[in-house]
Symmetry: C2
Subunit: 387 residues, 2 copies
């Protein structure tokens, strides 16, 4: 019996290999995900599987068992969650599997997941604009890292490379510890958010530069370029991303028609990138006029097992000489309400207020340490910039 | 018993969901693929799976059973194949799965696969260059398709957007029926191939424009933009890609510092894109000076169930008035030796020779209807261009 089962499964495996050549046809047979007015249905063809579940971001990736029909297709239907961009995967007999019926796939660091966009409401900010800006994958030489590295540049739809007169402000936008230069463009929907806000007149046309804040990575690893050391050694920490001011800002200002003073420069980032943004901005008040710190583990360190955040110690004068630093147009601070970094972030906000800092903005959103919070942070922050 | 099994598997599923949050750590535990001097080893952690196999492109995607160790990790070791870029997936109990230990993933149409680069020999053409050119994801308005569409532009490392004097030739490079504007840049290694050949002085610095030849697709579907109709309706056929000359060439020549005459324009493509290139070049002898036709199903139609290729009927005068068309610097024709389109392609080559066409180049490579052939086609073709 066991031998027959194994033989059947081997044949199924062979068939799967052959079917791959016809995946376009195969896709059409199973529709997943399917959105109706009030429900979302996932489907997955796995006739030989014993147990299949789906885990989706709006349920905190909790596994929900799927039900197998007589056609071998597993199904799970849930009430439609609120409009947002969600990620999900299937688990087949304990193994994580992508939905072969859904070509919309995103990567978060080393991990691939399917995505589904529930339209309407706030998620319309993520929709494709009628006038999209471009995204450039750009190589530059980093003297700080002694390597050729890659960054992404978003250019707004109005940018015309033959126009030598118009100069644009630049937002330098930093990813978290597990990400790379691709994260903000895909999971962050940066292009779509900027496209829509610029088209609506709610944000100034700007360039957004998305570098790779993990010094051991040559570039987005999907190119097959080996990382310099083990991928887990991403801990550039928050402190040593000096490449941004040493390499990247000069490169961008030499290459693109951008404004070359502090009024035309802002820096923001999420998690590790939020900590990096804190250092970069407060160490370079003469270079940046606005800073966005999203869900920083540096500032909210206490709750996640790190050393308590002592702003005065790491930026001498931060609290004792506020006049030295109180030149920012915007100090945007935000955290997810279920993210345990929130208390540290709120405490920082209170300290800045107590020292009379101007331009401090606090926002909190439902959610944990996750992209649905950071996409809203980006959308809010860019509307405040370069006024 | 069955209930206990299901419970265990459900718990494994829950654990898998939780583990995803730590995929960076998880990755380090299982190394896959691992290359040694003479072997490649794939590993996959699936303690609960009954049968796991691997299918790799160098074995024609034939499923090879993996062997489970006492730690629950399945392993398969094979002699190292010749240097090349290969793709593979795992099959777990009949379901296709990506290798979670390998972040190098490519997409072919609707299908995701892992990739592995066996270095050395010819595959060094695919390696990362010390001076990489950039890749731009660019939106343009297509009047022909009545939509805003996306294309990719490769710009060589020497391109300086502040230099208004240097003008570059352009290769328009078309994907196959299942692909989109992403295919040549990822599976085709276009950037790496051009970077290396340009750095070695073997190819002229040029721009490479990679549009989307499937009119029903708005853009690479990984953006979550819906396709206009069912994805299977890719059959723009070979005949109606008029958007290239109507929309794309004018857009590129308005936007980039490129040579605006036939000597600075070439067109090439694989499979469906090869058929499109045939029509575009022979219908526009005044616009293009060179053409590359890789593994065309139009020209090799007979063997794949299509109507026999009648060049004279579809391009009147092709054989009867060769002087009208014999203005090309290069007519590059190629096919994989195990691709059944090869006889039709060879027959076309013989017919052109028989009519006295100049600049006809024939190459054949080991392989079927697959990327390892097309990557070599690209590398050969670009070395012949713009001389």
């Amino acid at each position: 019996m066991k031998r027959i089962l194994c033989l059947l499964l081997l044949l199924a495996g062979l068939a799967a290999g052959a079917q791959e050549m016809n995946s376009l046809q195969f896709r059409a047979r199973v529709v997943s995900p399917e959105l109706s007015q009030d429900a979302v249905t996932f489907r997955f063809a796995a006739p030989k599987a014993r147990i299949v579940s789906v885990s989706a971001s709006w349920m905190g990736y909790r596994s929900e068992p799927m039900k197998q029909g007589p056609d071998g297709i597993w199904t799970w239907t849930a009430p439609l969650p609120e409009p947002e961009l969600y990620t999900y995967t299937f688990q087949v007999d304990g193994v994580t599997v992508l939905d072969p019926a859904n070509v919309f796939v995103v990567r978060d660091g080393a991990r691939y997941m399917n995505a589904v966009l529930i339209p309407g409401g706030y998620a319309d900010a993520y929709a494709q604009s009628a006038a999209p800006g471009n995204l450039e994958q750009v190589w530059y030489h980093s003297a700080e890292n002694d390597m050729v590295r890659r960054l992404y540049v978003y250019t707004p739809a109005c940018y015309d490379r033959n126009d030598k007169k118009t100069k644009y402000p630049v937002l330098y936008l930093l990813h978290g510890g597990g990400g790379d230069e691709d994260a903000w463009a895909t999971l962050g929907r940066t292009c779509q958010i900027l496209d829509n806000l610029i088209a609506q007149g709610k944000a100034k046309p700007m360039f957004v530069v998305m570098p790779n804040g993990n010094p051991n990575q040559y570039a987005a690893q999907t190119l097959g370029i080996p990382v310099k050391t083990d991928i887990r050694q991403y801990a550039s920490g928050f402190d040593n991303y000096s490449s941004l001011t040493a390499d990247i800002v000069p490169f961008i200002e030499k290459t693109y028609p951008v404004i070359k003073n502090r009024k035309g420069r802002a820096v923001a980032g999420l998690s590790m990138g939020g900590g990096q943004s804190f250092f970069i901005a407060f160490r370079n008040v003469d270079l940046f006029s606005s800073v966005g710190i999203f869900s920083s583990g540096l500032i909210g360190a206490n709750a996640i097992g790190g050393a308590p955040f002592d702003g005065e110690a790491i930026i001498p004068g931060l609290y004792s000489q506020p006049a030295k630093f109180n030149r920012f147009d915007v100090i945007y601070l935000s955290c997810g309400e279920e993210d345990n970094r929130i208390d540290g972030m709120k405490d920082f906000k209170a300290k800045l207020d107590g020292k009379g800092y101007k331009g401090v903005v606090w926002e909190q959103y439902p959610g944990g340490h996750e992209w649905k919070v950071w996409r809203r942070n980006l959308a809010s922050f860019v509307q405040l910039l370069f006024k």
